[in-house]
Symmetry: C2
């Protein structure tokens, strides 16, 4: 049978079972596996068990890897969810693909502004609303649905597959990096490719493959002014307030055009190559749709190339918020004693985390030296993750491009991402192999937002692309 | 019997019943009447009933005044606690004193940093720890204990008393101002004095009477950048972020010496009189103890007069916090869509709220005009309360000074306060009579802080001062 014949049968089988796939995703979304909420940890464990059972029903050998305990802010310890290591096939004549995904989700509650119950998958106008629908339960289940389809069609599977499914991705992937390092010479030894479906298309219509990610340096600025919170009536005017210093420091970090004001921060950013702008020109990207998706009237840059460059190949700085200050509704006349300002810098080739850390420290020190304040001000790199850049002409990318053409009838755009998926880099380092980011969700899925959704059409087409990808990657 | 003889009997009676008084305060503190927590409203109602029963047992005629409903942020409505109107005595030959106090308390939980359970009154080293011990359950119960003592000693009460006890003081006294206005020609008609014990001594040792309060203008700066929260990886660098604008505006409000940077804000501040510094020199005030109490190494000003002036007769500006930004522990890579910066200005004679509102609006407008941002930025005076200044040589103050001398053996300092008790001004306006602030707690009681306490000695001496005050004020 030609591969075209098989593709037809595969696509028909998948289409015929759409209802089952939606039910399956619905069952998964109904488990509120929020990794950031300690009291929901049992639900995360339940999600791991649910997935393990599903995988075992497909004949995938599953091992649960214990990655230890998480230490909470209050000192208590909480067991981390096990990482699922799955092995499907062990044919030395076949290539081996590692598939990574995650089973945990971002926090969600109706009061955040959801139009539907976040943990009840709700279909409306061809869209499946629910927390985790697109990030990342939908894609993970898609891979498994495809294996099931091959089995039902009695088609030999083209490759060996190894699964790494974690459940702390939305809370820093604690334990995973160490686990992968420990698996370098065993579970991960001799694999050929790594594929990850945990990102999104550039737009709502056209598929893409991603070969680059920005990194991140997340900083805490810590200011302490007194040993207790004070009443602004009793003490206001006589005390060097922590918030005054913190706001002053935070105001010196970025200007109204998004330009970072930290001395030297752009020195290591890769120079624009002469032909680089051309790459961006060829990409399909709707500036108006982008503004609409962000929900803003006006972006900082107006033309496509500049917007994409500022998302992918230039650094950016975001002020996220302040811990310890008054954050409730209404009025409270407190002078907060201890406040922590939080900001992060998205980093790009060839910025080095160590350099950025030094530059930020120096900047904060300079600002405070000009202020006449006795308050203790310190800045700390809370978390640093490197950028990632792959070769988009690698055979695995060629295979995924072919699969996209078969399903969608068009070449995917080769794009990068502004966010970071730190594990991408870890997989590249620990396997020494090419990593492919194969998004199947649309840009407006709202992965970390209210009303997260996954289009039914993308769910179905995503499985088809995955199904063909397995054949193509076996060949290249 | 001479008044000295009676004082001796009164003081002995009070001293003999110290244990009972502590138990009574303990019973009151055990009711967590937190007005800011909607789910605790039944506890506030319970506190009103507890006090009503106690008052009625003393023969005080109690009426509960319905002040309507509170509208919560989510639109739901909640019944406001009734205001207790008590009448004790109706002798036309006697003067009538209005006593104001409040039965609600600030929020408190052990996790805020309390060393003991906040709603269990705990005696340690002569101090009674518990939420509401000093603010304001202790003082309110003290007034009632004194009436009971007069009764037990068969001593005719020197004055008529009218009680106004509210239970929303820690959440803006909603409903009270309207109630007092409506009572102007009935309940409040023909009264002679108003006395309020809901403030604190300047230090830990020496009593004082207060004749001035700063007012407050509480502002919200509202910045909206998008219709939903965004991921800083996907959108950082291309969006005019709300936080960047907000922090920029907030950083222009006050400098590192506490000086307000809003143009024209000092124009209406009363000029320093030639002899004014002398008044401050005479006041007993320990700068080191003040720093220790605040828990700071260094205050902005170093000398006594300057510190007191900056607390009482100069305005100050505090940045309280931000609503809508990331305020949790750990790292979250959000671009908040809508943030509200909160700050307040403490106002002094002769600043006018309307002027300040205009100046702040103009300032924010000027700052934003210089920025190139399409974000919607608005500033709103959320709450304005006037300053208050009384005549410290008024007969009621003379009576309270005499009472203080009898109990403490020293003249109280005549001081002002940096905070506002808006109801002071309302009582003055609605009665047209002199209002006296008679604090009985110490400066380190921590009214709105963790580990709020009330010294046993102050509880006892406070009742004695109140007991003598009633005699003296009947005479002046």
């Amino acid at each position: 049978m030609s591969s075209e014949d098989f593709n037809k049968r595969l696509f028909k089988y998948l289409d015929d079972h759409q209802k089952d796939y939606i039910q399956r995703l619905s069952d998964a979304v109904a488990i509120p596996s929020v990794s950031a909420w300690p009291d929901h940890r049992p639900e995360v464990f339940r999600m791991v068990q649910w997935t393990k059972s599903f995988m075992e029903s497909l004949g995938i050998a599953v091992e649960l890897a214990d990655v230890g305990e998480q230490k909470l802010a209050d000192g208590t310890k909480l067991k981390l969810p096990d990482v699922i290591l799955g092995t499907y096939g062990n044919d030395k004549l076949k290539k081996t693909v590692v598939i990574y995904g995650h089973l945990d989700v971002q926090p969600a509650q109706v009061s955040d502004g959801w139009d539907t119950e976040p943990f009840v998958l709700t279909e409306k106008n061809g869209k499946l609303y629910g927390r985790g629908s697109t990030d990342d339960k939908g894609p993970v289940i898609s891979w498994l649905n495809v294996i099931e389809a091959y089995q039902k069609l009695n088609e030999p599977f083209p490759v060996n597959v190894k699964f790494v499914l974690e459940s702390m991705e939305e809370y820093g992937s604690e334990g995973l990096e160490d686990l992968l390092k420990s698996l370098k010479n065993t579970f991960l030894s001799g694999v050929d490719y790594v594929v990850i479906s945990d990102s999104y298309w550039l737009g709502k219509e056209k598929p893409c493959l991603q070969y680059g990610l920005r990194g991140i340096c997340y900083f805490f600025i810590d200011v302490e002014s007194s040993t207790k919170d004070l009443h602004s009536g009793c003490f206001g005017g006589t005390i060097h307030e922590a918030m005054t210093d913190l706001i002053a420091v935070m105001s010196t970090l970025v200007d109204d055009q998004g330009r970072i004001l930290i001395d030297g921060i752009y020195d290591e950013v890769a120079q624009l190559l002469p032909e680089e702008a051309e790459i961006y020109k060829r990409i399909t990207f709707d500036v108006k749709a982008y503004s609409a998706e962000a929900g803003v009237d006006k972006t900082i840059q107006q033309d496509k190339e500049q917007i994409l460059m500022h998302r992918w190949r230039y650094p950016s700085l975001t002020l996220h918020g302040i811990q310890g200050a008054f954050d409730g509704v209404g009025c409270k006349t407190v002078i907060p004693r201890h406040v922590i300002g939080k900001f992060s810098i998205r980093i790009v080739p060839n910025m080095k985390i160590a350099t950025i850390e030094k530059l930020v420290e120096k900047h904060v020190k300079n600002v405070m030296e000009k202020r006449n304040s006795p308050n203790k001000v310190s800045v700390k790199l809370e978390h640093g993750g490197d950028y990632w850049l792959a070769d988009p002409n690698h055979p695995q990318y060629v295979a995924a491009r072919r699969a996209t053409v078969v399903v969608h009838g068009i070449e995917p755009d080769l794009t990068r991402e502004g966010g970071s998926i730190p594990i991408t880099l870890t997989f590249q380092e620990q396997t020494g192999k090419n990593v492919l980011l194969l998004p199947i969700g649309a840009s407006d899925d709202g992965a970390h937002s209210q009303n997260e959704k996954f289009d039914v059409s993308n769910y179905m087409n995503g499985m088809k692309v995955m199904g063909v990808y397995f054949q193509e990657v076996a060949r290249v």
